[in-house]
Symmetry: C2
Subunit: 253 residues, 2 copies
Amino acid sequence: KTRIISITNQKGGVGKTTTAINLAYGLALLNITTLLIDLDPQANASLTFLDIHREVCNIYDVLLDSKIQMKDVIHSTASDTLFLIPSRISLAKLESKLIGEIDAYYRLKEKIKEIKDGYDYIIIDTPPALGLLTVNALVASDYILIPVQASYFALEGTDDLLETIEKVKALANPSLNIIGILITLFDKRTTLSKDIYKQLKNVFGSLVFQSKISKSIRLEESPAYKESIFTFAPKSSGAEEYMQLAKEVLKRV
Amino acid sequence: KTRIISITNQKGGVGKTTTAINLAYGLALLNITTLLIDLDPQANASLTFLDIHREVCNIYDVLLDSKIQMKDVIHSTASDTLFLIPSRISLAKLESKLIGEIDAYYRLKEKIKEIKDGYDYIIIDTPPALGLLTVNALVASDYILIPVQASYFALEGTDDLLETIEKVKALANPSLNIIGILITLFDKRTTLSKDIYKQLKNVFGSLVFQSKISKSIRLEESPAYKESIFTFAPKSSGAEEYMQLAKEVLKRV
Ligand SMILES: Nc1ncnc2c1ncn2[C@@H]1O[C@H](COP(=O)(O)OP(=O)(O)OP(=O)(O)O)[C@@H](O)[C@H]1O
Ligand SMILES: Nc1ncnc2c1ncn2[C@@H]1O[C@H](COP(=O)(O)OP(=O)(O)OP(=O)(O)O)[C@@H](O)[C@H]1O
Ligand SMILES: [Mg+2]
Ligand SMILES: [Mg+2]
């Protein structure tokens, strides 16, 4: 059975893309066949694996025109157990193009059906908003993984996200569940990080992952070298913490 | 003459809100009457000044129903030269409610006319997207200030933003200009930060502000205490750098 996990939080810059890339790569290293779908028009995840300035066929073409097959937009990566469906900035136009279409929120779910049997895990990176693209991901997913930056603004935004999840669960996808809350950009030297972690534990209890992702310059640098943390700095804290996260995800599924 | 500046970058978490709050407060400290408009449904800027969980009248009410006056949503702050128009999560619904309305992109510009004479500067915080809300801000503004985080993903996203600015300039607001590019979350100890700054200088030349905003835990903590950096940690690097920015903005106008 294929597991589909969305990496979602409408707050910007909390580590969604960094988590999507390194969780997908970590699972691939454990010999689990993984597909990473980039559903963010900023295409940060795609940028890490491909040269997106060259016109490549991408998820926008597939979601806009149902005649285009999902298999025609799957790209291979340096790992033979990791595949990518890239995004492009034109994806930002999808929302206005699908206004009024009754199946607008189900497009991704329908398209994933075409290819899902070929993968053990599908990881979906989402944009910093609760619009059509993110709702498509939630409708198509079994689980949602919520990265929360160890900061004040990031903590405040979680109510709106939980409300959206409840709506999607009630209206379109009753089997959607939160697989966990992941604290990111954690700095164990500051009381702010420790306070935020404590508050997350109070609010979410055992939903909070044991794994914490620390602030690390290696994680910030790796996308510029078009690599995951595992190939860029295999002995860094980032590589260890994301591998621990991959193993914790497998236990929770 | 009132100057209107949008703080915009569709990349998430680059310091838009932190810059909007502290630039507005810095200008207010220089005895310049300033209005901060929060156009982000996440309402991070509003959260810093008000208890937004209480129902307060906000920018959504005004943009949706033109009979509601802008003056009825202006709130005072601890500073007698700084005022705020807050946001709420319901603002995220505005885009779908205004579909098809020919004046959808001009609503903010029209509403600002009602109150603009009362202020020297109006600062607008925008969400991490290039949708209706951000375009409303760009149509209403004289200038756009672009915070760019010292990171790989943040640098890559600037082409899309420049394209959107050109479109707004050509179609709706010919007087819109970039007042400057502000490097944020700068860490002078790392080569990544220095490389990004060099690349920004290569691409944008003198548009890049002399002021750099360094990574600082004080800047991260201040919103949790409902304060700007100037009252929370007046002697910190964040307070000095944002005051330097406020003075540089005044020189460029
Ligand atoms: N653990 C970490 N340590 C240091 N830097 C990090 C870490 N995680 C992410 N970053 C950096 O923080 C920035 C934001 O991360 P990322 O782009 O993954 O967030 P995001 O939630 O996907 O952003 P957006 O909302 O724009 O999609 C990036 O520059 C990234 O390199
Ligand atoms: N110079 C700085 N030093 C340390 N932390 C900072 C700095 N500037 C911003 N931050 C922190 O980084 C996070 C992102 O900043 P902020 O929320 O201002 O970005 P944003 O661009 O407004 O995000 P969004 O895209 O979600 O609107 C916040 O937690 C903030 O406290
Ligand atoms: Mg991202
Ligand atoms: Mg913000």
